[in-house]
Every structure is written in structure tokens, then in C-alpha cells.
Subunit: 190 residues, 2 copies
């Protein structure tokens, strides 16, 4: 009855996705539930379930349509900026919904091409942004990197991601400091 | 017809799990496929599918029954031992099956209590072993740790895990060296 080319089906899909994006921007990832999305989109809850039987893929899709907030717009000194960004990322990774979205992304990417493209885009943005900011910091003499700047995302975000998804525990500040220190020799004070 | 208390059902389950464990020990995680498990267990492929519709949970269950190989039996100097262990772990994380098993573990643990207990046990073993080895290294004067030893697993395994599951790329040796250096000040030569 419904299909990918049915205009009503496509319209409700778009309304749901818009509602999810608005909820995400207004109230954060925990707001992207079937009930709240249905209410905001002005459709029945069953319609939301028909398009997205589970909430994580809907959250992921909504996330993919909003600009990635992390590591955007670097400020100087780089070290202080990076600490603030990693602290914000660690706090997000403590939310169950963000944890669910990121682990769903990692596991679904292994057998779903569209999800894998999303994973690659997500990882690439973080790697590029951090490498760019660190290359500039090195050019300014703020840091002498001890490894290629494209390794920086794994070295700094990796511990936070492992702490959240494998250890299921909050990231403490010393873990972030140690990861930042591992990037190289900083000339700015901690 | 079959149920959790049917002796034939339980016997075939045990035979399949034994076969999966043997294949894992003999030939590594990529050998744990429905076809090879069925052949080794002497049951039909349909029987394997009935117990484990997907291969990852079967691999995870087989993994849970064999001793965790990583970070076991520390040797001195700790720094060289840790490098070897992290290199071995990085190579395992490059295998599609290990990637699938670890991301399945992380995502399924969010809504499945048994899987969450397995995740916690898995993470706890790695954290305990590494903390134990580093505490001994510090007592011997090999290292002055720059953070609590229970943060060491996230700081060193985290980058490898992120590189494998989010960046889908191999870990290069400089990433491992940087993570080891981040643990503190080492008195042993690199």
C-alpha cells in the first residue's frame, strides 16, 4: 500500500525527519522518541514506527542532517579549545541515546552501505577538523606534534569512546588531559 | 517443539558451542561461520541457525568461554610487553569478525542484560590486567604514571578501538607509541 514512491509516504517521512531534527536541536538527543516525534510532526505514532521501527536510526538520520557540532570553529590557544571540545564530547557520550546512536552506527556500518557512508563521513569530519586545528597550532609554534595530525582523532576521541561504549563509565578530566598531552610537546601552559 | 529444557535442544546447543570454541582456538574468529560450525559439530546447518540466527552472537559466546588472551601474563620490561600486546590487539581488531563481535557487544549491551554483563566482564578484565601490570611497573621504578592506572585501558586500547570501528582503518605503530608514552614518564628506553 505504501511505497518509497508514494507521495503521502514520502511527505510523512519528511515531516517526521524535520520533527526529529527540531527536537534534536531544541532539546538534545534524548528528546528524539517516537512519541515526541509523532506529536511534533502531527502524525500518528504508528506512522513514525512504520518509517523507523527503532529510534536509534531515526536519531542517526536526524543527526546526519544537522551540522556536526564537535571540533568546529577552532579558537586559540588550541590546547584550551581542544580541552573544551573533548569535555563536551565526553558529556554527550554519557547520554544513553548518543551511546546507542554511536554504537548502532559502528555495528550497522559493517553490513549496511548507507550507514557505512555515514560512519565514514562522521569520522572524516572529526579527523579533518582536528588535524587542521593541530597543523595550524604547530605552524604557530604552540605544539610540536609527536605523530601525524591525522592520528589525533583516534588518540583523543578514542579513549572517550571506549570509556563510554565499552567501559560504560564517565570520562574523568585526567583522561582528557593525558590524551591531549600525548599529541606532542605543548608550549602553552596546561 | 524445541524448548530451553528439551535435552536434545540443549545437547545440540552444547555441541555447537564446543565446535565454535574449537574453531576459534584452532583457526581464529573468521572460522566461526554457520557452515564450519555445523560441519565440526556434526549437526545440520539449519540447527546452527535455529540456535544462533546470526554468527556474531555465536562468536561472542564462544569468545566468552575461552580465556581472554590479551594483556595476560605480563613480562618485564612492561613497556615492551605492552607494545607487543597492543600490536596483537590492533591486528585482531583489523579482522572483520572481531570488529563485528566487538561492535555487536557494545550495541547489544545497551538493551540486553546478559550481553551487558559480558561487556562489563570483558572490559573489567582488560582494565584490571593493565592496571596491575602498570602498578607493578611503577613500583619497580619503570614508569611514573601520569594518571590513575585504571584509566590506562581507555587511554591505550581506546585509540585502537576507535581506529578500527569508527575510522575503519589499520592502527599504525606511531599511534600505539603515542598511547604508551601518554601513560607517564618511562625510564626504560622505547
Amino acid at each position: 500500500m505504501t511505497s518509497d514512491t508514494d507521495p503521502r509516504f514520502l511527505r510523512s517521512r519528511e515531516a517526521i525527519l524535520n520533527a526529529a531534527r527540531q527536537l534534536l536541536l531544541d532539546s538534545g538527543p534524548t528528546a528524539v522518541t517516537h512519541a515526541r516525534v509523532a506529536e511534533r510532526a502531527g502524525v500518528g505514532r504508528a506512522t513514525v514506527y512504520r518509517h523507523w521501527p527503532q529510534a536509534e536510526p531515526l536519531l542517526l538520520e536526524a543527526m546526519a542532517t544537522v551540522p556536526m557540532p564537535f571540533l568546529a570553529e577552532p579558537t586559540v590557544p588550541t590546547r584550551a579549545w581542544l580541552r573544551r571540545e573533548l569535555e563536551a564530547l565526553a558529556r554527550q557520550l554519557e547520554l544513553d541515546d548518543v551511546r546507542a546512536a554511536s554504537t548502532t552506527l559502528a555495528s550497522t556500518a559493517l553490513w549496511d552501505e548507507a550507514m557505512d557512508a555515514r560512519r565514514a563521513r562522521f569520522a572524516g569530519i572529526l579527523t579533518d577538523r582536528l588535524a587542521g586545528a593541530l597543523d595550524e597550532a604547530e605552524a604557530r609554534g604552540e605544539v610540536t606534534l609527536s605523530l601525524a595530525s591525522r592520528n589525533a582523532a583516534a588518540l583523543t576521541i578514542g579513549p572517550l569512546y571506549y570509556r563510554s561504549t565499552i567501559e560504560h563509565a564517565p570520562t574523568d578530566p585526567t583522561l582528557i588531559e593525558a590524551a591531549i598531552a600525548a599529541l606532542g610537546t605543548w608550549t602553552t601552559s596546561p
